[in-house]
Symmetry: C2
Subunit: 237 residues, 2 copies
């Protein structure tokens, strides 16, 4: 019997690589989807391709959607990425690295591909703990998208609500995400989390994303094999 | 006082041109958004630009999203467009011209732009009567997207649900849409409805979209000023 198909959103970061490994472990035939959305660096796209290949996807697709034309975020426009900012874990305020409606855009495109493939399962690496400031990482947002998917599509209507958005990391701590991925064979050396890598592809070690990652690896006593320019002031690499 | 901003989805067709005129008449400063999504012809994109200019938008933006990579519809892939098919108005079955998750993709991108602009109003020309086979033209779908928009965005969360998706045509007949647009100064000669225009930009007159349009113009005794290759067998042009 053929495996059920799933579309997995794959950014090339630590979280989405882990999600892909989880989807594969659940027996899905995985179709991974990455985006070229006017990121400041192409390294993220290359990392996603490397992760997809190493985890045996059926197909990896990179779709160009130039969100930069809208402006509005440190990840797509020319704003400075915050380094070593206070309040790494806290507060619930919306960070400057927030991209308007990003998960909605990405999930919509995943849904379009899923419907074409005959897939009813979409996997997304959102996390409600480390990204508490992002409105589109909350469980109520995911539930609303799942409802929309089943109303929006011919497949959803005909199959009476079979679309599911899987967010296996949503309540996990970063350290547990890494432990899960390691147990499923993820090579985190292929991933890229940094918001601001240098021209040689080395991670900065000081943006929020690097610091959360370094802190989590340190907490479980595992060496992070990605290359860093400089470790964060407050986290031992 | 500055006018409130609205993002208007503008395909270059008859419906979206009318919606833009309605949004303008309601006093919004209009930002129109068109897509280059791998259509078979660029005429649709050019029609949208001509309509936007003629109706005085603040900015018209064409965003490239290559939905063709997903395959799956007569409007993006190499399937034949049905001509003079029986059952033009009926049945509720999903037509071959359906594009997977199209309105969800387009609304998501409109939402991203709206949030960046500080707009809370999105206008969309869906119609539940003539397009009864499209799941993403139903009122319950629009309501679900509106709910999602307010959960998905920083602006929605901070402004406690101010996003609105306006669908002024949803319960209108095509003939009433045209009458409304004419009263608001829409030049329908600049629009393009045909799914399969020829190389000279002439509409085929035989696809569902041409036939609905010709029938509606005929019913109100107005001459449709777009150029046709051939009128439909069952509708007087």
């Amino acid at each position: 019997m053929q495996n059920k198909k799933a579309v997995v959103l794959l950014s090339g970061g630590l979280d989405s690589a882990t999600v892909l490994a989880i989807a594969r472990q659940k027996g899905f035939a995985c179709y991974s989807l990455g985006f070229d959305y006017g990121q400041r660096h192409r390294l993220e796209i290359e990392a996603a391709q490397a992760v997809a290949a190493s985890l045996g996807v059926v197909q990896h697709l990179v779709l160009a959607v130039n969100l930069r034309v809208f402006g509005g975020s440190a990840l797509t426009a020319e704003l400075a990425v915050p380094k070593n900012r206070p309040g790494l874990h806290g507060g619930g305020e919306i960070p400057v690295t927030y991209v308007p409606a990003r998960n909605t855009v990405f999930l919509s495109l995943a849904l379009a591909w899923a419907e074409t493939l005959g897939a009813y399962d979409i996997f997304l690496g959102v996390n409600a703990l480390d990204y508490s400031g992002y409105p589109d990482c909350r469980p109520e947002y995911i539930a609303a998208f799942e409802k929309l998917a089943n109303l929006a599509t011919a497949a959803g209507v005909e199959a009476r609500g079979r679309f599911r958005v899987h967010t296996p990391l949503i309540n996990m701590r970063k350290a547990d995400i890494i432990k899960t991925g390691l147990s499923l064979g993820v090579d985190y050396g292929r991933t890229l989390s940094c918001y601001d890598p240098d021209s040689q592809g080395r991670s900065c070690g000081q943006c929020d994303s690097c610091r959360l990652r370094l802190e989590a690896f340190a907490s479980i006593g595992v060496v992070d094999t990605v290359r860093y320019v400089q470790a964060s002031r407050d986290v031992a690499p």
